[in-house]
């Protein structure tokens, strides 16, 4: 393992400290609870938006705290949901008269920690709601699973509720908006390589020189199937087919298209994927009116990508277009 780290156990705290140092005016960092929050939150007139989940998915979610996005991030260790009392303490710190909305990606550990944290915060009279995100089409929802995972599509839910909360929406309205966005958002990912959690020091799984993992999760969980490496266009076609037919998206729809890098894939390759996806969607009469090509939700240093579609209407489009300012930025 060659990584820019010091002590693997300090991976998350040192990263958080770095983010805080780079944004001294806008962010506040409370190391006791891995808590990164807006310096101007909580506000009387605004529902606080919080997301928690394991780390290792940067820029999600610790680098998207800021105006128009999250009020706070509550990260756990790499690929591990935050401990329950981090959730509880974060919720207390972010308590606003308008309430606290906890955005949770649908994983067992996260759901349990947030359910328990919510209960404890409610016992102290804080208004708390949980919104669960589950956009991954790779996992078939059934009685025998814990349901679909939340992956890169969570960006759109955060963006929409972040914008709406900035405009003064109350917590019921935010739940409506968040669920609405989640309902029209679908993602599937593919891994070209495994990833290396710092504390493990070796790759999570093995992929042969000529193998890829289709439908991979963002924690290195195996996906739908392992297959032979093939060219970019063929990979996009398979991802797109799975995503488009799931909602389904159909001719006449306006969509946002996201090609999300998983951490080890350069942006040049992401645009090669984007090109094909855009062309194929256009052929099917589906119009791409918003594009997102970058890293949004990664799996540490994994080479790979995911493809997300969001079906747009005027309300969602306006919320996605609203201004926002976060730590991950170019300028």
């Amino acid at each position: 393992m060659k990584k820019f780290i010091n002590d693997p156990q300090q991976f998350v705290p040192e990263m958080l400290e770095g983010i805080a140092l780079a944004n001294p005016d806008t962010l506040r960092y409370l190391p006791e609870y891995n808590l990164l929050m807006r310096a101007d939150s909580p506000r009387e007139d605004k529902v606080s938006i919080v997301q928690g989940s394991g780390s290792g998915h940067e820029p999600a979610h610790v680098m998207i705290v800021g105006k128009g996005m999250l009020d706070a991030a509550c990260p756990g260790d790499v690929f591990a949901a935050p401990p329950m009392d981090y959730v509880y303490e974060t919720t207390k710190k972010l308590a606003s008269p308008k309430g606290v909305l906890l955005l949770v990606n649908n994983y067992t550990g996260d759901r349990m920690a947030f359910d328990m944290g919510k209960e404890m915060a409610e016992a102290e009279g804080i208004r708390v709601e949980i919104l669960t995100i589950n956009d991954d089409v790779a996992v078939k929802d059934s009685l025998y699973t814990v349901g679909r995972r939340g992956v890169a599509g969570n960006f759109f839910v955060i963006k929409a509720v972040g914008a709406a909360s900035e405009q003064g929406a109350d917590i019921e309205e935010l739940l409506r908006i968040g669920n609405k966005v989640n309902d029209v958002t679908r993602t599937m990912g593919v891994a070209l390589t495994s990833c290396t959690p710092p504390a493990k020091g070796s790759t999570l799984f093995e992929l042969g020189e000529d193998e890829i993992e289709m439908g991979v999760g963002i924690h290195g969980e195996p996906g739908r199937k392992r297959m032979k490496m093939t060219n970019a266009d063929a990979i996009v076609d398979e991802l797109l087919e799975a995503v488009v037919t799931d909602l389904p998206y159909s001719s006449g729809d306006d969509v946002a298209l996201m090609i999300n890098g998983l951490g080890g894939t350069p942006i040049s390759e992401l645009y090669i994927l984007y090109r094909r996806a855009h062309q194929k969607l256009t052929e099917q009469g589906i119009k791409v009116t918003r594009s997102y090509v970058n890293e949004y939700c990664t799996s540490l240093d994994m080479a790979g990508a995911s493809l997300t579609l969001v079906k747009l209407d005027d309300e969602i489009d306006a919320l996605l277009g609203a201004p926002a300012e976060v730590a991950v930025r170019v300028f």
Partner: protein, 215 residues
């Protein structure tokens, strides 16, 4: 091992904590097969905290002690294991209450409280390929042995073999809960990390009970 009930419980808990710390890598590797590889790290970091604060833990009675352990575990362990293991200790503590002596029935009741707590917290049951698949057969075996009048060391020896056999049998199962469940059929063929963790821990408890009890 002789001693008060609290001393006995302390031995069990300390052995659990030490085993978790010692097996960080092994447990992590088990979780990497169809999970995300952090089971060992999560347990080790949490139980490190338990050992660090060991002398200051409330020892009013067995119930208070176990509840405090449950709180440390829940608040310091991330991932799925924090809530699951924390709930188990908490529920066992509530079941024990302000006991100074523990009968065989009480011990079984505490174990049932713990596994029921896990089931409720994880919305899971035996057969889902989780640590319950080691814990529940083990509890059954303990109940049987105690009823048959075996002494503590003998009961623990049977508990250890039962947990190990049951943990190994999880490799036949398809995961229906936890991160491993996303892989469906592909989860068959490898043991569940949580169940195997339980087996290793119970073996260490059984060993400690005879050796440390002798000192």
């Amino acid at each position: 091992m002789s001693g008060t009930a609290l001393q006995q419980v302390e031995l069990v808990v300390r052995t659990i904590a030490q085993t978790a710390v010692d097996n960080e890598k092994y447990f992590g590797d088990l979780d990497a097969v169809v999970g995300d590889g952090d089971f060992g790290y999560s347990l080790a970091r949490g139980f490190e905290k338990v050992l660090e604060g060991w002398d200051d833990i409330d020892r009013t009675d067995v119930g208070a002690f176990l509840k405090k352990i449950g709180m440390i575990v829940t608040s310091r362990i991330g991932g799925t294991s924090g809530p699951i293991w924390g709930t188990a200790f908490m529920k066992a503590g509530i079941s024990a209450g302000p006991a100074n002596e523990l009968s065989g029935e009480q011990v079984v009741a505490m174990l049932r409280a713990a596994t029921d707590g896990i089931k409720a917290r994880g919305q899971s049951d035996v057969g889902d390929k989780t640590l319950l698949d080691a814990l529940v057969p083990m509890t059954d075996a303990i109940e049987r042995e105690l009823a048959s009048g075996a002494d503590h060391a003998a009961v623990l020896a049977v508990a250890a073999t039962t947990a190990r056999t049951a943990a190994e049998a999880t490799s036949e199962l398809v995961a229906r809960r936890g991160r491993a469940s996303y892989t469906g059929e592909r989860s068959r063929g490898s043991v569940d990390a949580g169940a195997m963790g339980v087996a290793v821990i119970v073996e260490r408890i059984s060993h400690a009970w005879t050796t440390e009890g002798a000192s």
